[in-house]
Symmetry: C2
Subunit: 364 residues, 2 copies
């Protein structure tokens, strides 16, 4: 393993994500020299002393190997390109599972939401994710309770690709009750984290983690979120780096849709109601676009208002002549003739020896 | 009664709404001469012959008087100013009920939606309308089944002002089953129509009517609408004349919210979830504005991420010193000092002889 590679593994143990001093040093002198200077511990780098004392990268690599995790660094084929849009990208990623991460997230959507979801939210998260999975899109989420878990499950249900991004080490099962779910994701998808193996999932690391979910995907969909939901933090990260955000509406009586509604109102998110609309939002212009929804249209829905007036004036039972229609509608005979011609070609009225009646089966 | 006034009454019998020939003539020569020429029936005006033959304005005025309806024409105090924004305003209005129409709609909202509403939609329409009514806003709708009826009822329930705009004559009870509702509106609010007394509510007249609802109000809220709902026609009229439109979201699984969602997606409507948001949408800038919704915020929600990391590193049980916190968080002692000062002033941590612990009652 190269020194740079190994040094990035060390950084994931030594420095919290988004440490600006470390980020700038890394940009200037590379990872190996950054770690060397942190170990010397002069000046602003003294604050890493405690972690330097216990640094043992061989052990971290061993722990990773034991759970089948690999180290992925910028420049690797497996590195998700989107992470480079972040102001401070992760030093490295620890990745478990058979999916090649960079490839898997090339067409991916983050599906996130509240831990305390309703049945409505969980069902939608599962359905959207199953739809995305079956159409070749990877579902990325955070393996939390509620919407996250439902999203992963929906993708797994259709043998779709799914990626869980964790706040703690990839060897840590958190939340513990999602152990079986994480095991399934590790077996068929991918689990990724920027924290070194064994790292605890501290509160601040969830906020750091959210930016990875936002950045490695093509866009984020928030399915259900109360006003204070952490998923709105993910939305914030996504919109900061110009990733499209969708939000699923719900009953205005449900506080768990209030966060989604607020994101739509503030125009950080677009309202989405279906897999098609999600793919339209995050997909390639043109290629993945979807049509606006229209109702099953009755022919009369699209009639010009004069045609509609004429149609109204043509009875089912006894046929009427053109002049009668003109008098009833106050349209000129010429105008009525034009309307009748259009209505006849649409199969809405029938001519019968100079008179007109509604076609049988002409629906309103 | 002046000739012009009387002629406008005649026009409501002779010409369908939005007849462009009549509109242009009216603009050029006034109502009395327009009616005179229609009665002569030369050229393009021959098409009114049948209606001219049965014209009896005295009888129309009598029918109106019998149901307590009055004639309102442009220039009258009672004329709703917003109607003049229409490309083709109504020739006149027939109005029943104690409310002075122009005054009543000065602060008014159209609350509209599907005839086949769900309990969710009807409840919301009633609640929004009750909220609007109790805050001095007039609720305007079309007296149809479903959302319209629920809107009128909500306003009536709080003794709020409500106006029903009908497609047929103001003396015609349509739909018949809403007779008791229309009687209550006539007794305390107003019923208005641009059609002469006795006119049948034909399909095309509903579309004409919708533009009046859109134009006489400050804005339109669509509560529940399937993709083909006629209320989307009202939305179209409102947006054409630059009136703000709100749409209430609902479950994506309900086809009766699909029209609302589509209006929001196409940006013809703004998503609204409450009376405050409706008033914010249609009201005066600043005066009627509402704040974005926020969750009941825990103090830690708004912490900078370093403060959050420090807070996480301060235990409840045994106090720790500043250096320990610095080592755990990898923040500099100076940075930690700043974080602790902020956390202490927010009541989240307590100092105790040079050590720190979480304040009792500090919530996450």
């Amino acid at each position: 393993m190269s020194d740079e590679r190994r040094a990035r593994a060390a950084l994931s143990r030594l420095a919290e994500p988004r440490d600006l001093v470390v980020h700038q040093l890394l940009e200037q002198v590379g990872a190996a020299d950054t770690v060397a200077r942190m170990c010397e511990g002069h000046g602003a780098l003294a604050r890493f002393a405690a972690r330097v004392r216990t640094l043992n990268t061989d052990r971290d690599l061993e722990i990773a190997a034991r759970v089948g995790a690999r180290l992925v660094v910028p420049g690797d084929d497996e590195w998700p390109a989107g992470l480079d849009d972040l102001p401070v990208p992760p030093w490295c990623l620890w990745v478990r599972g058979p999916l090649t991460l960079g490839e898997a997230v090339r067409r991916s959507v983050a599906v996130v939401g509240s831990r305390t979801a309703t049945a409505y939210g969980e069902q939608l998260a599962s359905e959207l994710s199953a739809g995305l999975g079956s159409r070749g899109w990877t579902v990325v989420s955070g393996a939390a309770f509620g919407i996250d878990a439902a999203a992963h499950r929906g993708a797994l249900a259709v043998d779709g690709a799914t990626v869980a991004v964790l706040a703690g080490g990839v060897d840590r099962v958190y939340p513990a009750a999602n152990g079986p779910l994480l095991a399934r994701i590790a077996a068929t998808g991918a689990i990724a984290s920027e924290a070194a193996p064994g790292s605890a999932p501290m509160k601040s690391r969830f906020l750091h983690r959210n930016r990875l979910i936002a950045a490695m995907t093509r866009g984020t969909v928030v399915v259900e979120a109360d006003l204070r939901s952490g998923s709105r933090n993910t939305v914030g990260h996504a919109s900061e780096i110009m990733r499209p955000v969708g939000a699923v509406p719900g009953p205005v009586t449900s506080m768990l849709s209030a966060g989604c509604h607020e994101e739509i109102r503030s125009a950080r998110a677009v309202l989405v109601t279906s897999v098609d609309e999600v793919i339209d939002l995050v997909g390639d212009l043109g290629v993945d676009a979807c049509e606006p929804l229209r109702g099953e249209s009755l022919v009369t829905d699209t009639l010009p208002i004069d045609d509609l007036a004429v149609f109204d004036a043509v009875p089912f039972a006894r046929p009427v002549n053109l002049d009668t229609i003109a008098l009833v509608t106050t349209l000129s005979p010429l105008a009525v003739r034009g309307c009748l011609a259009r209505l006849e070609s649409s199969g809405l009225v029938e001519a019968d020896a100079g008179t007109w009646r509604r076609a049988r089966g002409a629906r309103r």
